[in-house]
Symmetry: C2
């Protein structure tokens, strides 16, 4: 579809294909990064698990059909590791962005190793140690969400603290899911501010604590979606909680950052960096 | 480090850099897919948020230091959207895999649009509708994990069912986190098998149900890690539960698959495909 951005001339319809012998997550991730630079919308088609020659031929037909229909050349981001499949895809009328061939060929030359051209190597395989770590981290993070459990806090890799709705839960789950990091999280609540101290159960783990803050305006907006018109969501209350929480983080000398206007991915990677945490799994 | 794979000649140490002006997730994702084809281990260095010329120069120094130390050319996967930064990185002694330039330049020609070369476009920005959908989906999936709540099941996009430890929780969270899909999940328990019916609360939502199964051997292994030597984890009990669950899924005529030896990503994408669910967010 054409973009609604008025600074850009109306564009013809363009279809983008993400074609993979696996999940297609790699093709989509890179494709989105590249396409985002052009500020127009594309008609997206995902074709995962294209792992037989028959499915490749079907993909070629769909690309050629889109070419007929749109009157513009479809753009094809593909990760087909088998040379035979990648070659068959080339027969389509699309503009080919072969992510594997583009980088594997020069690397083969540089490394002097023949590539395996084997499917399904890019994600954790179930049963591997990395996979087990990841599942364990997800279970840990779920069990230690919102201060639910104080058990085994010593095995946490990081403990996120912050006022309610500052982004602790999605960040903890993302750290576990993507990186195999055991991330507990604890809310900072008015009782903590009155005492002027972090929850005492966290005292032995100070070096693992990372604080998330948020702008009071954004916090009020988020809380109002959950409990409209409540004291909890009132801007003056949000201002008080955020100011007290930040004061506490400074006093205790812990690492912290604001989650306002950051994506979950950005917050997670910043925490990895600040806390010098090695990822446990891809 | 050299690979322990005996079929491969001992390789010299190679350092791989993932350099980005953002989180580096795109560079890492594609880099891993490509490197996985070579079956050797690399010494990995991540440099996210390289968003000033000073940081680019620091990255160049680190690449050149690795070259000195290893005696082999480092491999550099980079996503620096600013032409000035990408250009400055080229002065290093590394082997450059510039993921942006490689694909943006030909696309510029094809689309006839000038790329923005703007940082931070590849992930959801907080405040956007997609971002809100994603957070809402995570909250929904958490609230509806393991049959915890029957409320608002009508707004679920998918309801996963399966025996305890068949992979429902990580899959639900991944669907929410990555795709903004509201995924509830319900355990199938011995009481359900005795009645020979799905939990009655799910009856109105049959078209949203997707089943996960698992091999009894794998299930026993997973359950034994959690409750060693228990009846719950015994192989004959796992065989009974899996057989009853699969029988029920067939009788009810719902879509289902085995999660054995599949990654969370693979299971999630297969569910999207089978249930014809459009992703709600990147």
């Amino acid at each position: 579809m054409p973009s609604s951005n008025s600074s850009i001339v109306q564009q013809p319809v363009r279809t983008v294909f993400f074609i993979s012998d696996g999940t297609g997550i790699t093709a989509e991730t890179l494709g989105h990064s590249v396409l985002a630079q052009f500020g127009v919308q594309f008609n997206e088609v995902r074709l995962p698990f294209v792992d037989t020659l028959e499915k490749v031929h079907d993909a070629v037909r769909r690309i050629d059909d889109a070419f007929e229909k749109d009157g513009t050349r479809p753009i094809v981001f593909s990760t087909l590791v088998k040379t035979e499949f990648a070659g068959a895809l080339q027969s389509s009328k699309g503009m080919q962005m072969d992510l594997i061939k583009t980088f594997v060929d020069p690397l083969e030359h540089e490394l002097g190793i023949e590539p395996a051209h084997a499917i399904g190597r890019s994600h954790n395989i179930a049963n591997s140690i990395e996979y087990e770590n990841r599942i364990e981290a997800i279970n840990f993070s779920l069990a230690h969400d919102d201060g639910q459990s104080h058990k085994n806090l010593e095995s946490a890799d990081v403990i996120l603290v912050g006022v309610s709705r500052s982004g602790k839960t999605p960040t903890s789950l993302y750290l576990a899911m993507q990186y195999g990091i055991k991330a507990a999280n604890y809310p900072l609540i008015p009782e903590d501010f009155e005492r002027g101290k972090m929850p005492s159960v966290l005292a032995p783990f100070k070096e693992k604590i990372f604080g998330l803050s948020i702008s009071p305006e954004r916090l009020a907006q988020v809380r109002n979606e959950r409990r409209p018109g409540s004291r909890y969501a009132a801007l003056d209350n949000c201002r008080y909680e955020v100011s007290e929480a930040e004061k506490m983080m400074r006093t205790e000398g812990i690492h912290w950052m604001s989650s306002t206007a950051k994506s979950i991915e950005e917050i997670a990677v910043m925490i990895l960096q600040e806390m010098k945490l090695a990822k446990r799994s891809y």
